[in-house]
């Protein structure tokens, strides 16, 4: 089913409406990109230039010291590795757990699954501010405070709650004929899951994986509270170092923002085809 191509939906040639749509897209793209361009512009200004000309002026030259200073000041390489490690682990673990949960709820159709789903959804809508203190005491009790693994566990659970909710509804529409055919061929439950369900829903799983990765990457509050040592910190927490009590360093903050957003953009570009394919499959369903 993943081979149902997007070509079927390509609009026909001609028509003046197309140019209007194109123009609208261009305007929309400009509006979306403008803030990024301003940040990028400020990232390559010297602090003095920023103070003289203000934030909206075009940079007079390319000044990369802000980027370099920030990199060295917070050991950005280490932070990048921490973020990659946390987000990567969470994405994979959460997808695996979501699949297992959703298999039971969506295909296994256990009793009371509706209530289980409602519970998961509620867990997902709880604000993180409310979770921070209980989680802090749990982490302290288990000796996991100030470790990366505590953040991985927390986010695996948080993301799994959403993943289970989404995947369960997707899998409950899974074609029964395929499952029955597999059973007749002598596959047990385990084999049905790994040989049939997972391969067929791979596009959806890939999308989930990408989303979990990016969501976890951008998380701020829980890493801020749990990752006390600078050695354990993630990129988003490291960006907070520049926010002083009364002063902000606008150029270096912009530089750090550029460094902070680059990995997610790179990640998105690499997995962009996966994303579009997954979304398309979902749409046809």
């Amino acid at each position: 089913m993943a081979t149902v191509s997007a070509t079927a939906r390509r609009p026909g040639p001609g028509g003046p409406g197309r140019y209007a749509v194109l123009l609208a897209y261009l305007v929309l793209a400009a509006v979306m990109l403008l803030p990024f361009l301003i940040v990028l512009g400020n990232a390559v200004k010297t602090p003095a230039e920023y103070s003289q000309n203000g934030p909206l002026a075009l940079p007079e030259g390319i000044y990369l010291d802000g980027l370099r200073d920030f990199w060295e000041r917070v050991d950005y390489g280490d932070k990048l590795l921490n973020s990659l490690l946390i987000s990567g682990s969470v994405a994979v673990l959460a997808v695996v757990l979501s699949v297992l949960n959703a298999y039971a709820l969506g295909i296994g159709r256990v009793k009371g699954r509706l209530w289980v789903l409602v519970l998961f959804l509620m867990a997902n809508t709880l604000p993180q501010e409310a979770l921070v203190y209980p989680l802090y005491f749990l982490a302290k009790q288990t000796g996991l405070y100030d470790t990366r693994i505590s953040v991985i566990i927390v986010f695996t659970v948080v993301q799994t709650a959403f993943g289970t909710y989404l995947l369960s509804s997707v899998l409950s529409g899974f074609p029964r004929e395929i499952l029955e055919a597999a059973r007749i061929d002598g596959a047990n439950r385990w084999q049905v899951l790994w040989r049939v369900v997972v391969p067929v829903s791979r596009p959806t799983l890939s999308v989930l994986l990408v989303f979990f990765f990016i969501w976890t990457w951008n998380e701020f509050l829980i890493p801020l509270v749990f990752l006390v040592s600078n050695d354990n910190q993630t990129v988003s927490v490291a960006l907070g170092v520049l926010q002083g009590q009364r002063l902000m360093d606008a150029t270096m903050t912009s530089a750090s923002a550029v460094l902070g957003v680059l990995p997610t953009v790179a990640f998105f570009l690499i997995f962009q085809r996966t994303l579009t394919r997954g979304v398309t499959v979902g749409a046809i369903k």
């Binding site: 920023y50 934030p55 994405a91 996991l144 470790t147 890939s206 994986l209 040592s229 009364r246 606008a250």
Partner: protein, 430 residues
């Protein structure tokens, strides 16, 4: 399909490697180091006066304590602000850290018994003799965590106050005399307005706007008034002569154009950049801008204390605090001692900060010397009036939004002061 599978496989491999690594990360090096390591946290940028001076202090500490390493971690202000109670209540507390002074911060932690009482060390090492009395107030707390108490829970290394920065070139260009009295100040602002120049830069969305109101009120107030407001030593009436004068005068200044009406949504950063880029002749703000103005302003500038003010906004700076869970308290005291010595204090002053115990003769930069001299005069005459947002939790936001209404003219000074009274009364400690 193949591509996807490959990518997924790469990710999976990466993640398993990652989890393996994370397992190792479990036991971070937080264990006791037997007095061989001082874990130090602060949140001053490396180029700021404090950053420069304290870096020098780290080197000096390591030189005088062979075999001991300083493990310094630079933190964000927000991280410390949000998480200090949690960190200090765990075994991962640092040995020594910088912390925000005030009832809601250091005071609260002292009440929760998370900070070490430094009183014996302070008297033993003579720090109480170095720090001027007005600056000591924010370092000492009572049993309820209210500042001005009897026990030292922190040691201030620097101080800060608010003053007027002015652009000499703009004063010369428009033929305006630099004011020395309050009447001259308003006359000078009238002249600027007549020339189409807004005399004062301002930020309505942050601290700058309500600091004008407080400063104006202070010109009609005395020490007992400040203590009642900041330290709950008496009843506070926002409808009294001083507050009413402050609020009505500031509203009047907005009407007269001394302060731009459109600055109501501006941030302090915008206001500062406005001054540094030479658009405004004056900025009334804190000594925390000093280093930046010195580094970036391309015009002749200088500073003066608010004309005829006996009291102005200011206080001791942030504190060195020793967490109750510190594993190397002796080393922490030694480090504080080094930062209080003349060498580091002079370095702090020369870098544009206000040291609490410097030798002013050793300050070479004339502007920095003036900054410090003015502060010392204020401190000696008991002229530090703290900040208007200190007394009750959440007061900063109240001040910002009420003064914005004042600037917009959507509420009268009387209504604004009434609202502030309500927030003050309901926030008072029981």
């Amino acid at each position: 399909m193949v591509k996807v599978r490959k990518a997924a496989a790469v990710l999976a491999a990466l993640a398993t490697a990652a989890t393996a690594l994370a397992g190792c990360g479990g036991d971070s090096d937080s264990g006791g180091s037997g007095g061989k390591e001082l874990r130090l946290w602060h949140y001053e940028g490396p180029d700021s006066a404090m950053g420069v001076a304290w870096n020098q202090a780290i080197k000096e500490f390591e030189a005088t304590h062979p075999g001991v390493k300083v493990k310094f971690e630079e933190k964000g202000f927000e991280q410390i602000q949000k998480t200090a109670p949690m960190i200090l209540n765990s075994k991962d507390a640092p040995d020594l850290m910088e912390y925000n002074k005030g009832n809601a911060t250091a005071g609260l932690l002292s009440r929760q018994r998370l900070l070490t009482d430094l009183t014996p060390e302070v008297t033993k090492r003579g720090w109480d003799k170095l720090v001027p009395a007005g600056v000591q107030v924010t370092a000492k707390y009572d049993g309820k965590g209210v500042m001005g108490g009897d026990k030292w829970f922190g040691v201030p290394n620097y101080a800060e106050y608010v003053q007027v920065y002015y652009n000499k070139d703009l004063f010369d260009k428009h033929g305006v005399k630099v004011p020395t009295t309050f009447a001259e100040l308003t006359a000078a602002m009238d002249q600027f307005v007549a020339k189409g120049v807004t005399p004062l830069t301002n930020a309505g969305a942050e601290y700058m706007a309500h600091q004008f109101v407080y400063q104006l009120a202070l010109t009609r107030a005395d020490r007992a008034w400040v203590d009642a407001y900041e330290r709950y030593t008496g009843k506070v009436n926002f409808k009294d002569a001083a507050w009413t004068y402050g609020a009505t005068t500031f509203a009047d200044w907005v009407k007269k154009g001394y302060v731009a009406k459109n600055s109501v949504g501006a941030k302090a950063e915008d206001a500062g950049v406005g001054f540094i880029s030479g658009k405004f002749p004056m900025m009334f703000s804190g000594s925390w801008w000093f280093g930046r103005v010195a580094a970036e302003a391309k015009f002749e500038w200088d500073t003066f204390v608010w004309p005829e003010a006996k009291m102005t906004l200011g206080s001791g700076g942030n504190l060195w605090v020793v967490p109750q869970g510190s594993k190397n308290k002796e080393l922490a005291y030694d480090f504080i001692d080094i930062t209080m010595k003349k060498g580091i204090q002079n370095a702090l002053g020369n870098a544009g900060g206000i040291p609490v115990a410097a030798d002013t003769a050793a300050i070479t930069n004339p502007k920095a010397k003036k900054l410090i001299d003015n502060f010392n005069t204020l401190a000696a005459s008991d002229g530090l009036a703290y900040y208007p947002d200190w007394p009750v939790p959440g007061f900063y936001d109240t001040w910002v939004s009420e003064v914005q209404k004042l600037m917009n003219g959507s509420a009268s000074p009387d209504q604004v002061l009434g609202n502030i009274q309500k927030a003050y009364d309901s926030g008072l400690p029981k």
